[in-house]
Structures are given as C-alpha cells and as structure tokens.
C-alpha cells in the first residue's frame, strides 16, 4: 500500500470543500498530479497544492492507497467523500461531511468531526476518536435515504439527530448522544453507551436503538414490551424493551405497521 501525506500549509480563510481527497480521487496519481486536483474555497475553484504540501505517490487503485492528512483542517469539509476502498487518516479535527456517501474502506478522524459525518454512508468503517457533530450517519438535507450500511464508531460524544432516516448499518457511540436519535429510521442499529437526551426514535418504523445510560424523556409513542437479555458489543446485560413509534401511522410494509425497537439497560 502506498502512502500519500498531505499537510496543511496555507489554512483557507473560508471553508474549503476538498471532495477529491479520498483514495478514489488520488488513485493512480503522482504527488504533482494530486497537487493539481480541484478544491473549492467559497465560490472560487483552485488546486489542492495551494493549501496542502503533498508528499508521496498514490497506489494504482483506491485499495492500494493510504492518505494521511496532517495539520489544521478544522475548516476543511468532504474529506473521504464517496471513498470506496483504501485508508484515510485525519490527524486533527475536521469540518462537516467526514466520509460522506462512503461505500467502503477505512476512515479515521483522530480529532472531532463536525456535522454530517458518515452521511448516507453505504459501507466501510468510519472511526472518530473525538466527538461527532449533529446528523451523524443521517440523510442529506431533505433526503429520505440515510446511512444504509457500514460501521461508525465514535469514541467521544455525538450531537443531535444522529441516524436520521437510517436504513441499515451499525453505529456505536461510546459517550453520550443529544436529542432526536434515529428519527424516521427504517433499519440499522445504534448503540449509545452513555446517556441520551429526549425524543429517541420519533416516527421510527424499523431498526434498533440500544441505550446503556439514561434517557431524559421517553417519546409517548413507545410502549414497554417486557425485558430482554442481550449481548451488545461483547457486554451481556438485561435491558427493558420498548417498541415504537406507535404514533407513526404510515404503513411501510403491505397492510402491516412496523415499529422499531428501543432497549434500555436496567
């Protein structure tokens, strides 16, 4: 596997959209060619080389390419956009859309990732060592197709509206999550090891939410359905089981109303 290191040398004044920074965008290119790839700052288009020092050539394919992003990229969006294979490591915190629409490969953000990390993700692994922002693994604005596959691990806390319109895949938050988890979800699994605020699973018609800590207020549409013993992420424990959102009237399956599951550790 070939490694390309890009280091921030001229931090942008406005936010920088670097949707070419992914193993797929770099594959088959030399350091000089990578420096010529387009990035957008505000309404102007310029090249990656204007902002980053590029060293190392990429592998022939995305799977053969590893990218390390160094320096301050707090104002850079879309790193790992649509990546399908290979590896991407961001050594500091980044802005929105970390690994958005990714279909494969591994992405690691060592700092925090802002909102919309793993948006509409279809496959691969996204790990965030710090905290994740709002709309983690959610659908794009206005869209109804959220994360449908792959795995997200957040070692810190997550923001609000995570897993909105989630269709599949798995998300583990080691810390706490804010309000509105899995709104409109139709599938997938979200595990929150810390506490949650209110409004979990509003209009949920499928999928599973597992909370280890406390939930501020339960949605009125969730009704208790006994207890269950589950093994979650290597931990065996007893959980109280709720199904909902029973307030959701739309039928997602023919002639049958389907609900999601919510488990809370006893």
């Amino acid at each position: 596997m070939e490694t390309v290191t890009i280091t921030m040398k001229n931090p942008p004044a406005l936010y920088l959209e670097a949707d070419n920074v992914s193993p797929d965008g770099f594959a088959g290119k030399t350091a000089a060619q990578i420096a010529e790839l387009h990035v957008h700052e505000g309404n102007t288009t310029s090249t990656l080389g204007k902002y980053f020092e590029v060293s190392g050539n990429a592998g022939a394919t995305a799977a053969d390419t590893k990218i390390i992003v160094k320096g301050d990229v707090k104002k850079v969006k879309y790193l790992g956009f649509k990546m399908s294979a290979g590896e991407l490591v961001v050594e500091s915190s980044m802005d929105q859309y970390a690994g958005g629409w990714m279909t494969g490969g591994k992405m690691l953000v060592k700092g925090n990732a802002d909102a919309f990390a793993g948006t509409a993700m279809k496959g691969g692994e996204l790990t965030i060592d710090g905290n994740a922002g709002n709309y983690l693994g959610a659908a794009y604005r206005g869209d109804w197709r959220g994360m449908s596959g792959g795995k997200i691990l957040v070692k810190g806390n997550a923001g609000s509206d995570i897993g909105m319109y989630m269709l599949g895949g798995e998300m583990i938050i080691n810390g706490d999550a804010d309000v509105h988890v899995c709104t409109h979800a139709e599938g997938g699994k979200v595990i929150i090891k810390g506490n949650c605020k209110s409004k979990i699973g509003g209009q949920m018609v499928g999928g599973t939410v597992i909370v280890f800590g406390s939930i501020d207020t339960m949605m009125p549409g969730f009704k208790p359905s006994g207890e269950a013993e589950l093994e979650v992420d290597g931990v065996k424990a007893k959980f109280s089981h709720y199904i909902g959102d029973t307030g959701e009237r739309k039928k997602k399956k023919k002639g049958q109303i389907v609900y999601g599951d919510l488990y809370q550790k006893i």
Partner: protein, 568 residues
C-alpha cells in the same frame, strides 16, 4: 447584427418540406434570409444535421410551484451544481434546475422557445421574474382557468362572451399566452377535500360539471381567436382506467372548428397523454390504452397531443392537480407540499422515483413510447416529458434515441425487471416503427409551433422566420452504429442560433442572447359587467388589491413580444 451562412448541412424543415437535402441557411438581422453578402461568417455544417430551433410546448420551468420544489428538495441539487464558467452563471438541480441552468440546458439541446405550462394568475409576477432570469430561450406562460371562480360562475349561466372578456383581461394583466385547464373543477373540489374524477362529476358549490367548463372554454377561446387552443390536462389523471375519462374529454371537442389568424387548426391540445392512457382497474391489472386514445386522436383532426414520456429517473412531480398529488404521496410515502391559490387554482408537489424495477413505471415508459409511434400524423403529436413530472427535460435526447431506434427500445425492455408484464400489458413489443429525422423535426419544431400559433415565427427555416437554428453533430447519411450516438448528438449542439445570435458553439454557451417573453394581447369590446365583477371579487375575496395583481412594466417583462388579437 452579424450575418451568417450555415453551409452544406443536411436540412430538415417540415415548413418547406425539406427532407435532408444539402442546403445553405442564411441569417441576417435576426431572420432567415435567401442570401447574405460575401462578408457573412461561414459555419461549416458538412455531415451535420440542421433544423430549426426546437419548440417546447409543455414544461414546468418557472413559478411558485417549481420554486416550492426547489425549496423543499435540497437533495435534488446534490452533486449537480456547476460553477461559473465563461458566459455561464452557476447553476444546479437535476429535476428542478435553477433558472439559469434551465435556459442553458435547453439551448445546448437546440431548444429556443419554451412554454411554462401552468401559471397561477395570482403569482404571475413570480412566474415572470423567473422567466426573466431564464436566459436565451423565448418563453410564454399559460395561466390556469379550469378552477377559476369567475369562469365557473359565467359558464354556469352559459355566458361565453363574459368568459371571453374575463380571459382577455386576465391574459393581459398576467402577460399570459394561452388558456390552460388542469383537472377542471377537480382542484376547486379539492378545497372541499373532494375531486372530480369524470367529466360529469359536479363541482361542489358551483354546481357546474367539468364538461361544461371545457366546452365553455373552447367556445371562449375560439370567440377570441387566441393563437393557441385550449390546453388541457383532463380529470382523473394517472389512475388505472383513466382513458375513459380522457376519451370523454376529447369527445367534447367534437363539432368545434378553429377560428384564428395564426394558422392553428386544433381546438384542443391534450397534454401529457401518457398519464391519461391507462386501462385496468387497479395497479395489478394496469395496462396500456394508448391504442384507444391515439385511434381517436388520429381520426379527429381538431385535436393535438403531447406525449409526457417517462424517462425512468428520480424526479419531482408538480401539478395544479392538487388532489392527484395527495393521492400520489399516499402511494410513495415521500414528502408532500400542497398550495391553495385563493379563487383560482391549487397545486401539489411530491418527489417520485420512476424505477425500472417496478412494473407500473416500466409500463408507463412503454405507454409513452407507444403514443408517438401509434400517431399517424407527427404534426399533431409532440415530444415532452411534462418536465419534471415524467422526467427532466434534459432527457429529451434519450427519448429521441428510444423513438429513433427500435434496437434501443428493445435493449431497454430487456433491462426491465418485469419484462414479461410490460410486453403483456402493452403492445410496445409489436411496434418496430422508427421515427425519422423529418418526423422528429415535425414533432419538436414545426408541429408545436403550429399548435401554439407561432408558425410564422419559429419552428421552421423559411426565409422571413426568426433565425432560430440548431446544428447537430449527426450525419444522416451514415448508419447509426450505436443508438447511444443519437443521444449524444442531440444532447449537445454544434451550433445554436437564437434570433440570429450564436448562443451555443460546440456545446458551450457563448452568448446569453436576447430572450423575449411571448404574450397575447386580446382586445374585446368594453364589458362593464366583467370589470365590475372583477372589482367586487378583489374587494371581497382576494388577499391583494388589483393594483398589486398585474405583472406590468419593465421589471417583470423587460423584453416582451406581443401577439395582437382583435375580437372586438
């Protein structure tokens, strides 16, 4: 203005009956002329196809419901934005592009005139502001009349003359072009939570039937002698078995003759006929009735139609047929927007995915193909996608590919998941007709121009007409190796001229042209009763005053082109 001569191209022009002969087209002062001086700029069109600029008869490209779609579907702009480039301003959107992208995309495909198919009169100012911001193409807008309180009150008492006076007033103040009817009576009934699913369902409160609205508006339209005929989206759109309502609607035109000075021959234009040609009783036994509808239209010369081809894309449906959009959101469970327009109309917006793996969508695609292939006279059947309802207008090249190549159609049928169902529920499998370039020029140029009453202006290459010319990288002498070459050739023109200005070169925009707004100024005898009624309705019911209603002046219609009609 510069002079041009387009040399050695294969010219297809139904107005003059030219069927692919090598001919030079001369342009001077914005018009097609017989010859130009030796200083004229030469455009070499050797081995290329030359046609008049295409005319779009029905698309939703400007106004509040298009904008509603833009606002509530940010995901439509995802990955489709293009930055500023040369003459082009930034644009975005797939099924509901921004105004600038709309103008550029039409021009790049060789379209130079387009009609916004449904203008809510109350929001005509918004429609004209968007038309103003759509570069290059000439545009007109059809105000909707089918659910208008004035029209229903006059026609209930058979007051055709008053209806005509009201139409003339409304078209003048809204700078409209033609009389559009959407689900006559049904959208008004929707305000009561009801609908009119046949031409004989009474409209609540007004006690009038859709049939009376339609015949009354045909009479008023011919009384005025407007350039375009009644433009109708009948009741019961998009339901299995709706073809019977369609035939009932078409039969209402029997006995009426066109009366106008614009060369138009029809009294009714049935729009997006694909959505109105469904048989069966439910989505399970859903089938094509394209044959029944086209048989009727083939026999009756006073009707023209457009197709409304499904292009198998993710798109945004939007129509003034409010109850239909409510029905649709119940089918696909996606988001829904509903708008009521006071005394005039309503509308709804719902995203929709025409998936090739769903049998109903595949059958809809097949019906859209059957209609143009079964129509005997291409001068009376025009290609549309009812943009964006059945698909975005940017898919016209693909529709042209399917119509011009039986091989391309076969490949698409084989790609459907429910191929057998498509073949059993439609007769697409037995149609091997391929549309010729001459027929294509009839269906996209001369035909719609004639139907719109613009036959002296656009849709042809006769000296004296506006110099709207499209040159395609398509050699009619060579056999088509791969049907995709057709799509490619019709996607990006080699050259496009709009009123004598070169606007596209090698698929790139080189000028923003001098776009015009087409509107009709119909003069009628003074009618104090109608004026008093209008005054009264504004005082009693409208949320705005008459002074704020009119789309006038330089701000809304900066470059008008007026078609004068005298019915005094």
């Amino acid at each position: 203005m510069s002079e041009y001569i387009i040399k050695n191209g294969h010219v297809f022009d139904p107005v003059q009956g030219i069927k692919g002969d090598k001919k030079d087209i001369a342009i001077k002062d914005g018009k097609i002329v017989d010859k130009v001086g030796s200083g004229a700029k030469v455009v070499d069109a050797t081995g290329k196809t030359v046609m008049a600029g295409a005319v779009e008869i029905h698309a939703h490209i400007a106004g509040p419901k298009v904008n509603m779609g833009r606002i509530y579907r940010p995901e439509d702009k995802l990955f489709t934005c293009t930055p500023t480039k040369g003459m082009e301003r930034m644009g975005g959107g797939a099924s509901i592009p921004t105004t600038f992208k709309t103008g550029y995309e039409y021009a790049k495909m060789g379209y130079t005139t387009a009609m916004e198919a449904a203008m809510p009169p109350l929001f005509s100012r918004h429609v004209h502001e968007e038309i103003r911001d759509t570069p290059i193409i000439d545009e007109g807008a059809f105000p909707v009349f089918g659910n208008n309180w004035f029209v229903m009150e006059y026609l209930k008492n058979k007051e055709v003359e008053n209806t005509a006076a009201y139409i003339a007033w409304l078209i003048r103040v809204t700078k409209g072009f033609a009389v559009k009817v959407v689900n006559p009576g049904g959208t008004e009934a929707w305000a009561w939570g009801l609908n009119c699913l046949s031409v004989n369902d009474p409209v609540p409160y007004f006690d009038i039937t859709p049939a009376e609205i339609i015949t009354g508006l045909i009479e008023a339209n011919e009384y005025l002698g407007l350039p375009h005929s009644l433009h109708i989206h009948p009741n019961n759109l998009g339901n299995p078995g709706c073809y019977e309502t369609t035939l009932d609607t078409l039969k209402l035109a029997e006995g009426y003759k066109a009366k106008n000075k614009f060369g138009r021959e029809q009294v009714m234009h049935l729009t997006h006929s694909q959505f109105h040609s469904y048989g069966g009783t439910n989505w399970g036994d859903f089938e094509s009735k394209a044959k029944e509808v086209t048989d009727y239209v083939n026999k009756n010369k006073n009707i023209t139609i457009d197709t409304g081809n499904v292009t198998l894309d993710e798109t945004t449906t939007m129509t003034a047929d409010g109850p239909f959009e409510h029905h649709l959101t119940g089918l696909n469970n996606l988001k829904w927007a509903n708008i009521d327009v006071e005394l005039e109309t309503g509308s709804g917006v719902v995203p929709y995915i025409y998936s090739p793996s769903i049998s109903v969508c595949a059958i809809q695609w097949a019906i859209g193909m059957e209609i143009p292939l079964m129509m005997k006279d291409p001068m009376r059947c025009y290609i549309t996608t009812d943009h964006p309802n059945a698909g975005p207008f940017t898919r016209y090249p693909r529709v042209i590919k399917w119509l011009m190549s039986a091989k391309a159609r076969e490949a698409q049928i084989n790609a459907f998941k429910h191929k057998d169902k498509v073949l059993s529920q439609t007769s697409i499998g037995s149609l091997d007709r391929e549309i010729s370039l001459y027929e294509l020029a009839q269906m996209t140029r001369a035909g719609p121009a004639k139907s719109l009453g613009l036959t002296n202006m656009c849709g042809g290459l006769k000296p004296g007409m506006d110099a709207d010319v499209a040159v395609y990288n398509f050699n009619p002498d060579k056999p088509v190796a791969n049907p995709d070459d057709i799509e490619k050739a019709f996607s990006r023109c080699a050259h496009v001229f709009k009123s004598g200005v070169e606007v596209v070169t090698n698929g790139e925009i080189v000028s923003n042209g001098h776009k015009r707004t087409l509107w009709v100024n119909a003069k009628v005898k003074d009618n104090p009763q109608v004026m008093r009624d209008i005054n009264e309705k504004f005082l009693k019911y409208y949320s705005m005053t008459q002074a704020n209603y009119e789309a006038l002046g330089h701000h809304f219609v900066p470059n008008p082109y007026t078609l004068e009609v005298d019915a005094t």
